[in-house]
Amino acid sequence: MTLPSLRALKALLVLNYSLSLQYRAQSVLWMINGSVPLIMLLIWLQLAQGGAIGGYDTLTFSQYFLFMFLCRQSTPTWVIYLMDRGVKQGELSPYLLQPLHPVWRYASEHWGEMLCRLPIVLPIVLLGLTLADAWTVDLLRNLPLFLVALALAWIINFTVHLVVGMIAFWADNALGYDTFVYQLYIMLGGVMVPLELFPAAIRDALYWTPFPYVLDFPVRVMIGRAAGPEMWWGLGVQMLWVAILVSLFALLWRAGQKRYAAAGA
């Protein structure tokens, strides 16, 4: 898998950004779906009225769920659907003939959508921080490493979905597994209950899976609840997951292409 040229990348981005813009109504609905963290913020704020819960006070909850919202909105992934359609309807055939690896096409479709959402998501986060009076100096300091953690998180989440999506090569239907992965992503990522509030034994077990590194970890880097050695350790684990998942993808892709029957071609 070679990197695409800058020109090709730019063309893909422009194309996908315009496609997302054209179908705005759908983007809005997706965004509504991604606002679960905001609902959870309301619940936890009410619960924390009587005092801090497990070390989280109203300020921590506000920061936690607002940045959870940002991370959730930055990592939506529908590549299982794309793979499923690509294999089942033979849409993959023309892509395989081109010098550009199809995975870039799929990835840039996601980036276009993110660019489209950013002008809505960012003001909501900033407004939320202001309303909740949750601006702290640490946020600015943590921002650079948060962006690194978020980028790694995006790659982990995308490749997890991609690897599952490649079931399509063998089973003709990968779509059924989409909800499966989605559930893990939401539930184990801390969208509803911060993982730090889980009983320690369960939390430690969850950290052996890639899912806490998609949402929970970047959020904690941002709000300063993963600092110092813990943060560097976390970034290291993220990179390890990226290496494992990308290799797994490369292996499966080679095997899958041999199975690919090009339906409809």
Partner: protein, 261 residues
């Protein structure tokens, strides 16, 4: 009526046949259902490790509430989503012409076209969660079950209307395949008692995104805590929603102008 029932039976048969073609998908979704319920209850349990009640409801009462959410969600998944989601596709590709030519109401056709009865397993899981919660609370009695059944039907009528109304948006916005999204949000918001939200959100979740009527009322019915005002409110809301969405559908198809011609 008899003709409609025969049509529904035909639709179900066709849907089952096409589903049997992709069996691995069915298995995947069964696993996903079991897991989503399992992790959902785990999260709830983790939450109650930190607090003793949410909005004045204890763990078992919220468990019943979550069971109602799953039940409603699974009906959406096996019925409303597969049937109503393709509407936006029909409109975009102009296939809606074919539906309009049929000698049955188009609303009936799109409502019952894809009833995926094979995936009823999720529904059983949802009802089981309600049953376990009711048992733990000692409210598992016949009268409670009957009222629960009534208000589950009322809840489904409301969700159906919401879904139908959202699908009609396809006639104006062309591509909105993901109307289901809003239902998922609804499931999350509905997993908690409305009393757990701040005041303005309570109003929102009662009248705009009606989780109060769809999840709270059946859960109250199951635990013997339903009051007359909420019961009547739910019935009135459902009746209005059904009539309103039917009217909207009628308006939408009048504005339909096909795709290629």
């Amino acid at each position: 009526m008899k003709r409609h029932l025969r049509l529904i039976a035909l639709f179900v048969r066709a849907t089952v046949q096409s589903q049997l073609e992709y069996r691995s998908g069915v298995l995947g979704r069964l696993l996903a259902n079991l897991m989503s319920v399992g992790t959902g209850i785990l999260l709830l349990w983790a939450m109650f490790q930190q607090v003793s009640s949410v909005g004045g409801w204890n763990f078992d009462q919220v468990l019943v509430l979550v069971g109602v959410v799953y039940t409603v969600e699974f009906v959406v998944e096996i019925w409303f989503y597969p049937s109503l989601n393709p509407v936006s596709g029909y409109v975009r590709k102009g296939e809606f012409d074919l539906l309009l030519l049929k000698p049955v109401s188009s609303q009936f056709l799109v409502t019952f076209r894809y009833l995926q009865v094979l995936e009823f397993s999720g529904l059983v899981i949802g009802l089981a969660v309600i049953g376990i919660g009711m048992h733990r609370l000692g409210s598992l009695t016949l009268p409670n079950l009957l009222i629960l059944a009534v208000f589950l039907v009322v809840a489904l009528a409301i969700i159906y209307s919401l879904y139908l109304a959202l699908s009609t948006l396809a006639f104006w916005f062309t591509r909105i395949e993901e109307v289901a999204s809003i239902i998922w949000l609804h499931s999350t918001a509905g997993s908690f008692p409305v009393a757990a939200y701040p005041g303005w959100a309570r109003v929102l979740f009662t009248f705009v995104l009606p989780v109060a009527f769809v999840t709270n009322v059946p859960a109250q019915a199951a635990t013997g805590r339903l009051t007359w005002d909420w019961a009547l409110g739910a019935l009135a809301f459902a009746a209005t929603a059904l009539l309103g969405s039917g009217w909207l559908w009628g308006r939408a198809i009048r504005s339909y102008s096909s795709a290629s011609s």
